[in-house]
Amino acid sequence: MNGAHWFAIVAAIAWSAWAAQWLRLHFERRQRRATAGTGRRFVRPPGTLIAIGILVFFVTVAVAAPLVTPYRPSRQLDIVRLQNAPPSWGHPLGTDLYSRDTWSRLAYGARVSLAVGLLATLLAATVGAAVGAAAGYFRRWTDAVLMRVVDVGLAIPRIFILLVAAALTAHLPLAALVLLLGLTSWFATSRLVRAEVLTLRERDFVASARALGGGDWRIIFRHVLPNVAAPLIVSLALGIGQVMLLEAALSFLGVGVQPPTPSWGNMIAEGRDQLATAPWTTLFPGLAIVLVVMALNTVGDTLRDALDPRAGAS
C-alpha cells in the first residue's frame, strides 16, 4: 500500500461525495420542474445522499479495483509473517489466514458481488416484466397459465432450488449462478407488473391507442410498459440488495462463488473460523454487504416516493 493507492482511495471517496451531490441536485431540479405550479414540494428524504454516496463509492472501487488496491486478490503475501495481520497502514483492512490483503479482496469481491446482484436482478426484472405484461394484457388463458407458474415458483423456497442446482453441479460457473439467481427472482416482479398492467389496460389512453390503429405489441411496449417503469425501477433497486444477500448466503454455504474468486459472501465464510482472533477478515466484507444493501433499500424507497405516479401529475 503506497501513497498512490491511498490517493486513489481518497479520490474515490471525494468522487463519490461529489457524484452523490450532483445526482441529488439534478434530480431535485427535475422534480421541481415536474411539480412546478402544483404546489407540491420535493421533500428530500434523509440519508439518501449518503446512500447514493455509498453506492457510488463501491461501484467506483469495483470498477477501479486495480487502481485502489496494491495486490492481486488471490496473492499470498507472506504466509509466515502476514497471517491474520491486524489492520495497519500497509494493509488497511488487515490480512487473512492465507496472508492475502483483505482490502484488495474486498475491492475485487465488490466486482463479483455487485455484478452478480445487478445482472441477476436485471434478468429477473426483464423476465418478470415480460411475463407480467403478457399475463396482464392478454388475460384469459395466458394469464391463467403464467400466474399458476408464478404461484408454483413462489411456493418453493428459493434457497432449496439453488442448493439443489448447486449440489448437482460440482463447480458452478459464475454465469450459471447469475442465471440461477435471476431466473428464480422474477416471480414477485411479474405479479407487480401484472397488477399494474391490469389497471393500465383499462385506461382510456390504451383504448385511444387502439382506436388510432396501434397493435398489441406497440401498445404493450410503447403505452403500457413505460407506465410501469417507476415501480419496476423501485423493485429493481430493492431486488439487487436481496439478490446480493442471497449470493452472500450461498457463498457462505460454499455453493455460490467458488474460492479463490473473492466475493463478500465467501470472504465471510473463509474468515468465520478466525472470528475471535482475526475479526477483520469477516467484519469488513460483512459491513460492506450491510452498507450496500441498506443503501440500495434507502435509494429504492426514495425512488418509490419520487416516482409514484399517484403523487404527481394530476
Partner: protein, 338 residues
C-alpha cells in the same frame, strides 16, 4: 345525392353477462354518414351512444361484448366487420378516427404530446421519427396551440384541459381520416373552452373535408354544430332528422322531453320539465315501445307492440305509434310549448 362515407345497417352489439343475461346495448341501429357533414347522436347516459361509437371502430371488449352477425358497418364501401385484425388496424386512426371524452385519461402520461401525435403517422404512413415530429408540429399549429415548438415536448399533465383536448384532436386527425367520431368531446371542459373546441372542429371539418359523428348528451352542442341529429333511446334510434326539423318539429315524446329539459333563452319558462324515471337496464328493455314506461302519452298498444321507425317527412323519421294515431297525443303532456 352523394354516396355515404359510412353506412351502418342494423347494428346490434350485445353483452353477455356471466349470469347468462344478455344486455342489448345497441339493438338495430342504422344510419348513413355523408362526406363533410356533422351527424349528432344524442341521448341520455346508458342508451347506447358510446357503445355505438366503439362498435364502429370494433373496440367493444370481446368478451363480454359482441357485434351480432347481420350487422353492417361499411366505411368507403368496405365492411369493417369482416376485416382481418391487420386490415382493421390500418383503418383505425387512418380512415376512421376517434376522440375520447376525457382528454386527461385518454393521453398517455409518460409520452410527450409530440410523440403521441406523431405516432399515428409512424404507424399508418411509415414516417420516420423526424418526419413524424415535423408532422406533429404542423398538427399542433393546425389545432391552434400557441408556441408549438415549446409545447411539442410537454407531457400531458403540463397542459390545460382545453389544450389536452386540442392535442387529442391533433392525434386523431394526423392521418386526415374521412370520418371522425367525437365521443362527448366537450363534456369535460369549461363552457368557454367548449365553444373554442367546437369552433376548432368546425374549422378543421371545413379545411379537411371529413365527416364528423358527434356524440353528446348536450342538445346545445348539437344545435350549434350538427347538420342532422339521431336521437337514441334504449339501444335504438327513436328519431332522426335534420337539426332544424328535430328542434322545431319533434315527433317522438322522448325527443320532446329532451328538448323540454334544456333551458332556453328564447322562450320564457318558469320550470324545466325533466323526463320522469331513468333509462332501464339494457338487459331488460321494456316490451312494446321501450319508452312507454316514461311516456306521458302511452296507451295499450305502446305496451305490447314495438313501433317501427317510419319516415314522416323526407329525411325525418320517428319510432312512435303517435305517428299513426296522432289523436292519442295528450296536449301539453310532453312539456313542450309549440
Amino acid at each position: 345525392m352523394t354516396e355515404p362515407v359510412l353506412r351502418v345497417r342494423d347494428l346490434k352489439t350485445y353483452f353477455v353477462s356471466e349470469g347468462g343475461g344478455t344486455a342489448r346495448a345497441v339493438d338495430g341501429v342504422s344510419f348513413d354518414l355523408y362526406p363533410g357533414e356533422t351527424l349528432g347522436l344524442v341521448g341520455e347516459s346508458g342508451c347506447g351512444k358510446t357503445v355505438t361509437s366503439l362498435s364502429l371502430l370494433r373496440l367493444v371488449p370481446e368478451p363480454p361484448g359482441h357485434i351480432r352477425p347481420g350487422s353492417l358497418i361499411e366505411l368507403e364501401g368496405r365492411n369493417l366487420l369482416t376485416l382481418s385484425p391487420r386490415d382493421l388496424r390500418a383503418v383505425r386512426g387512418n380512415r376512421l378516427a376517434m376522440i375520447f371524452q376525457e382528454p386527461m385519461s385518454a393521453l398517455n402520461p409518460v409520452l410527450t404530446v409530440g410523440d403521441q401525435i406523431g405516432e399515428g403517422a409512424i404507424v399508418h404512413q411509415g414516417l420516420s421519427r423526424r418526419a413524424a415530429r415535423a408532422r406533429a408540429m404542423e398538427m399542433l399549429q393546425l389545432v391552434g396551440i400557441p408556441d408549438p415548438e415549446l409545447r411539442i415536448d410537454d407531457y400531458p399533465h403540463q397542459l390545460s384541459g382545453g389544450m389536452r383536448q386540442r392535442v387529442m384532436i391533433a392525434m386523431a386527425l394526423v392521418c386526415h381520416p374521412q370520418v371522425l367520431i367525437a365521443d362527448e368531446p366537450t363534456t369535460a371542459l369549461d363552457v368557454t373552452i367548449q365553444a373554442q373546441i367546437l369552433e376548432l372542429l368546425d374549422r378543421l371539418q371545413r379545411e379537411l373535408g371529413m365527416a364528423i359523428m358527434l356524440i353528446t348528451h348536450d342538445l346545445g352542442v348539437v344545435a350549434g354544430t350538427a347538420d342532422r341529429v339521431l336521437v337514441m333511446y334504449a339501444g335504438q334510434v327513436v328519431e332522426g332528422g335534420s337539426t332544424p326539423d328535430l328542434f322545431h318539429r319533434p315527433v317522438h315524446p322522448y325527443t320532446e322531453g329532451l328538448l323540454a329539459s334544456v333551458p332556453r333563452l328564447d322562450q320564457p319558462r318558469e320550470r324545466l320539465t325533466g323526463i320522469p324515471g331513468t333509462v332501464p337496464a339494457a338487459s331488460a328493455w321494456p316490451t312494446g315501445c321501450r319508452f312507454h314506461p316514461r311516456c306521458p302519452h302511452a296507451w295499450e298498444r305502446c305496451r305490447t307492440d314495438e313501433p317501427p321507425l317510419v319516415e314522416i317527412a323526407p329525411g325525418h323519421s320517428a319510432r312512435c305509434w303517435l305517428v299513426e294515431e296522432p289523436g292519442r297525443r295528450r296536449p301539453g303532456a310532453s312539456g313542450v310549448t309549440r
